[in-house]
């Protein structure tokens, strides 16, 4: 377990279990407090303001069990992943070009910075004006809003690579492909995973805006329906679908980090 402290190694099995339970309790506690406060509020406020979380739970179950509704969740998830993948591939390629050539860097950096300053909602409007297809519009919005962050994060990682290690690998005369596999990819992987984590949160927010305006399906579209019906339980249930998705992907990324970065030394003293 990644959170296991060095002290745990010397504890008896029962003490270790107690320590693990304590850690689990501490991480669950904030959620329990929020849930309890909401449920408490639901006793005193109208249903359309603070619905009971039991209602929300049943609505979530409805979404999971209904093929039609769950298809909306899957559509949103696929839109997020496709947008992020597109932005990562294009942003990564731009970063490689910028790292190789100062001229390209000088040319592209201001453009990417300019893109970064454009609000997500503006991209939504541009996409609606420029394109017809709903899916392409959403893909375009997702790519444009996350591309600069991916490009700058990968560029930063490429520039931060150790010159000493690079020279060492060069001394063996690697092909470009081997240089990428043995040196560049492992060196920039930590920053790439961080970039995915950061952009995942941004993308899940942007996709809802994009679907809200231009789509006929997906979590954003369903949220719009709940707003028109003044159905807070429904709005919460659909929001939670996105939250679950983000949590699942974040956990998967953390798992990858734990496996991929097991080579890192762990200091006994925390920051």
């Amino acid at each position: 377990m990644s959170d296991q402290t060095l002290d745990d190694v010397h504890l008896s099995p029962s003490a270790r279990m107690l320590s693990a339970a304590k850690r689990l309790g501490m991480s669950v506690l904030p959620f329990v407090v929020v849930i309890a406060l909401w449920q408490f509020a639901s006793l005193f406020f109208p249903r359309f303001l603070f619905p009971s979380l039991i209602d929300v739970f049943w609505r979530c179950l409805d979404i999971f069990s209904s093929g039609v509704l769950f298809a909306d969740v899957l559509a949103t998830v696929l839109r997020i992943l496709a947008g992020l993948a597109g932005a990562f591939v294009i942003g990564g390629a731009l970063a490689l070009l910028m790292a190789r050539s100062p001229a390209i860097d000088k040319f592209l950096s201001p453009i990417l910075t300019l893109f970064q300053g454009i609000p997500a909602l503006s991209w939504v409007v541009f996409a609606i004006i420029w394109f017809h297809g709903v899916e392409f519009r959403i893909f375009f919005i997702m790519v444009m809003t996350t591309l600069p962050a991916f490009a700058f994060q990968v560029l930063g990682a490429l520039r931060a690579m150790s010159k000493d290690l690079m020279e060492m690998v060069f001394s063996f005369r690697p092909t470009r492909m081997k240089l990428f596999r043995v040196m560049i990819a492992p060196a920039i992987l930590p920053d790439i995973l961080t970039a995915w984590k950061v952009n995942l949160g941004n993308a899940s927010r942007v996709v809802v805006v994009a679907e809200l305006v231009g789509a006929t399906g997906g979590v954003g579209y369903q949220l719009l329906q709940q707003q028109q019906l003044f159905d807070m339980a429904g709005a919460l249930a659909w929001t939670l679908q996105l939250v679950f998705f983000v949590l699942i992907v974040q956990s998967a990324l953390t798992l990858i980090e734990n496996v991929a970065f097991r080579y890192r030394a762990v200091s006994e003293r925390a920051i």
């Binding site: 001394s171 063996f172 005369r173 030394a265």
Partner: protein, 256 residues
């Protein structure tokens, strides 16, 4: 590109080689190497000695093909190591000043690195890496990551990595300078033994007179900007009295 070695040519040849960083005469520009001429015979163990900043590492990088000379001719086995960079794959191995192990690779994976570049089959490269780790006293540490190894052990891994490719030319840039004296002495002795046993041509950069005398068949002393101030060859038969004279002469040259 053919990878054959020209046996008639010296293993390493530097003809009138200069290296200027930046623009000479301007702020930040300086001449690191000044019209140096140097030939290293095949199988020779050359120690290049000089004070910090005298251009030793620049010469090293030019022989390794990592830096291009501003003027003059650098040849390794008759070819230009900078422009014919890829043709030296597996022909030159380097031991750097610090171990430069890839932190995401275990000890054995680090030793395998050069063999991977040569497309050596997995089983063969694993066996070769294992053999060199064992030779250098690291059996049992194959799967340790660099952070779990001591400085001396990491340096051994980097030596194993250099020897594993069986390159005919070995370049070493003060590989033991960061180690304590006892560990450095032990590793140095092992290193000389391995170079001799395997018939390598070795260029060893150092700023330590004792180390140069212990390692070299020949010592070249450099003065800033890298110019040869003293060039002396000796053998194992060279007596301790004569070695002391050489030591004294080197000291005088460096003091000037």
């Amino acid at each position: 590109m053919s990878a054959t070695i020209n046996a008639a040519a010296p293993a390493i040849h530097l003809g009138d080689v200069s290296k200027v960083f930046g623009k000479e005469g301007t702020k930040g520009g300086y001449r690191a190497v000044d019209r140096i001429n140097l030939d290293v015979r095949s199988g020779e163990m050359l120690a290049i000695l000089g004070k910090t900043g005298c251009g030793k590492s620049t010469i090293f990088n030019m022989i390794a093909g990592l830096t291009e000379p501003t003027s003059g001719d650098v040849r390794v086995s008759g070819r230009n190591p900078f422009s014919d960079f890829d043709s030296f794959r597996g022909k030159i191995a380097i031991v750097f000043q610090n171990d430069r192990l890839l932190p995401w690779r275990t000890a054995i994976q680090n030793v395998e690195l050069g063999l991977e570049m040569l497309d050596t089959p997995v089983a063969e490269r694993r066996a070769t890496a294992q053999l060199w780790l064992t030779k250098l006293g690291l059996a049992g540490h194959e799967n340790d990551y660099p952070h779990a190894l001591s400085g001396g052990m990491r340096e051994r891994v980097s030596i194993a990595r250099a020897f594993a490719t069986n390159a005919s030319i070995l370049l070493c840039d003060e590989p033991f300078s960061a180690l304590d004296e006892m560990t450095a002495n032990r590793l140095r002795a092992e290193f000389v033994k391995l170079v001799k046993e395997n018939g390598k041509t070795a260029v060893f950069i150092t700023h330590n007179i004792g180390e140069a005398l212990e390692i070299g068949d020949r010592i070249v002393v450099l003065k800033r900007p890298a110019k040869i101030a003293y060039d002396v060859s000796f053998t194992t038969a060279t007596g301790s009295e004569e070695r002391e004279l050489i030591r004294g002469r080197i000291g005088e040259v460096l003091a000037i």
